[in-house]
């Protein structure tokens, strides 16, 4: 069994990873999609529902 200190570190790391994914997942997909798209769309068309 890992020590208490390691346990705490793992829990902290999981919490940090969860927060990063929570706020970063959608921007990450948009970034990947925006840079890999062919042809590259304009940013306003990406975000606005009407444009």
């Amino acid at each position: 069994m890992p020590s208490e200190e390691t346990k705490e570190r793992i829990i902290k790391a999981i919490d940090l990873g969860r927060t990063v994914l929570h706020y970063g997942w959608i921007p990450f997909i948009i970034y990947v999609g925006y840079t890999r798209s062919n042809p590259q769309p304009s940013l306003i068309k990406l975000i606005s529902p009407l444009a």
């Binding site: 994914l21 999609g33 798209s37 068309k45």
Partner: protein, 357 residues
């Protein structure tokens, strides 16, 4: 939803196909030592190849045809609008804005979704107005071997979820392993493993085992058994699933013509504390510009859903449900608009590359 399912087609990582294993590479002395075993293994695998059994499909998709015919998963009430914007075809990249209001069961909501997919990668994300994020990530290592991650992130404590999944489809079997909320510290969580094997060209049998370990000293194991029988022309499918505690779920699906599919489902609960059964009958018509689903079940509910396409990029939805026993009704209207930032010329240029290589 129709838009997201149509998008995932170019990825085709779910499609069953045949895997062929080649010979192994070993030093000479090892080869002689293990040759009795390898020859037995080779004979069995050759015998299995000669049987020429088809892949049975995955356990997850066991009742796919029935679920696609019934409208339980498609039913909505109130008003909704889905604006989908395709920004690229290869790789596929689209964003969706969904609005929903006036529903009897849920409060008005807004949802933004983004999907990115290429031949072996699929990423999907959605966020609603409360800041709850759901995420899906599929990585296909080969046509038959796919890793999947699903997660939900929420401000509310206890609503976070992560599911790790490994899917493997062999020549005549499918296997799948899932871990829901696994904790690396004390290995608590839910673990699910399932296996489906073709026994004859039509019949396949399978097991699904669920291992639950919510806390360190509580653990529970339950196994359910699966059966799937596919008609000779693949125009009808019957499935049965027996779960512990006396739950039996049977389905039957038949394609009557190019345009008409019907499906029936019977769910029986025969536990000592509770005896219950629900039967559902449904039909789905695929017309040239419309899809119509109708459903009737033994709890007194009659429901219908019409999805009418006025233009390739514009669809109008009407749904209705009457619960005769409870004397209540639900009505829903919706629009689905798909737009593209690509000009028709660009789309024409892209089409030849759109399919998986």
């Amino acid at each position: 939803m129709a838009s997201s399912s149509s998008l995932s087609t170019p990825v085709s990582i779910d499609s069953p196909s045949i895997a062929k294993s080649s010979g192994s590479y070993m030093p000479a002395f090892l080869t002689t030592a293990v040759s009795p075993f390898t020859s037995v293994y080779n004979r069995i695998s050759q015998w299995r190849t000669e049987l020429d059994l088809p892949n049975p499909g995955t356990v997850e998709n066991l009742q796919k045809e029935v679920k696609n015919t019934h409208l339980t998963n498609f039913m909505f009430d109130g008003a909704r609008a889905d604006l989908t914007k395709g920004l690229s075809i290869n790789p596929a990249f689209q964003v969706t804005h969904s609005f929903q209001l006036a529903s009897q069961t849920s409060s008005p909501s807004y949802n933004f979704g983004a999907v990115f997919a290429n031949e072996n990668l699929f990423m999907q994300g959605g966020v609603d107005h409360d800041g709850n994020v759901n995420a899906r990530f599929n990585q296909g290592w080969s046509q038959t071997n796919v890793s999947k991650i699903q997660a939900q992130f929420s401000q509310t404590v206890g609503h976070n979820m992560i599911q790790l999944e490994q899917d493997y489809q062999g020549q005549d079997y499918s296997a799948n392993l899932k871990a829901v909320n696994p904790s690396p510290l004390d290995l608590t969580g839910i673990y699910i493993g399932n296996y489906l094997q073709s026994v004859t060209k039509n019949l396949s049998l399978g097991v699904e085992t669920l291992y639950q370990r919510p806390t360190l000293d509580v653990s529970e194991l339950s196994t359910s058994y699966l059966l799937k029988y596919v008609g000779r022309e693949k125009d009808w499918i019957a499935t049965a699933q027996i779960q512990p505690l006396g739950i039996l779920q049977t389905t039957y699906w038949q394609k009557l013509s190019e345009k008409l599919e019907v499906a029936a489902e019977l769910q029986v609960v025969a536990a000592p504390t509770r005896r219950d059964a629900v039967a559902t009958l449904g039909a789905r018509y695929d017309l040239r510009m419309a899809t119509f689903r109708a459903q009737l079940d033994s709890t007194g509910k009659v429901s219908a859903l019409l999805e009418q396409r006025f233009a390739p990029a514009f669809a109008f939805l009407v749904s209705g449900e009457i619960d005769h026993f409870k004397n209540s009704a639900k009505v829903g209207v919706g629009v689905m608009i798909e737009s593209s930032t690509l000009t028709p010329e660009e789309m024409g240029m892209q089409q030849p590359y759109a399919g998986p290589a």
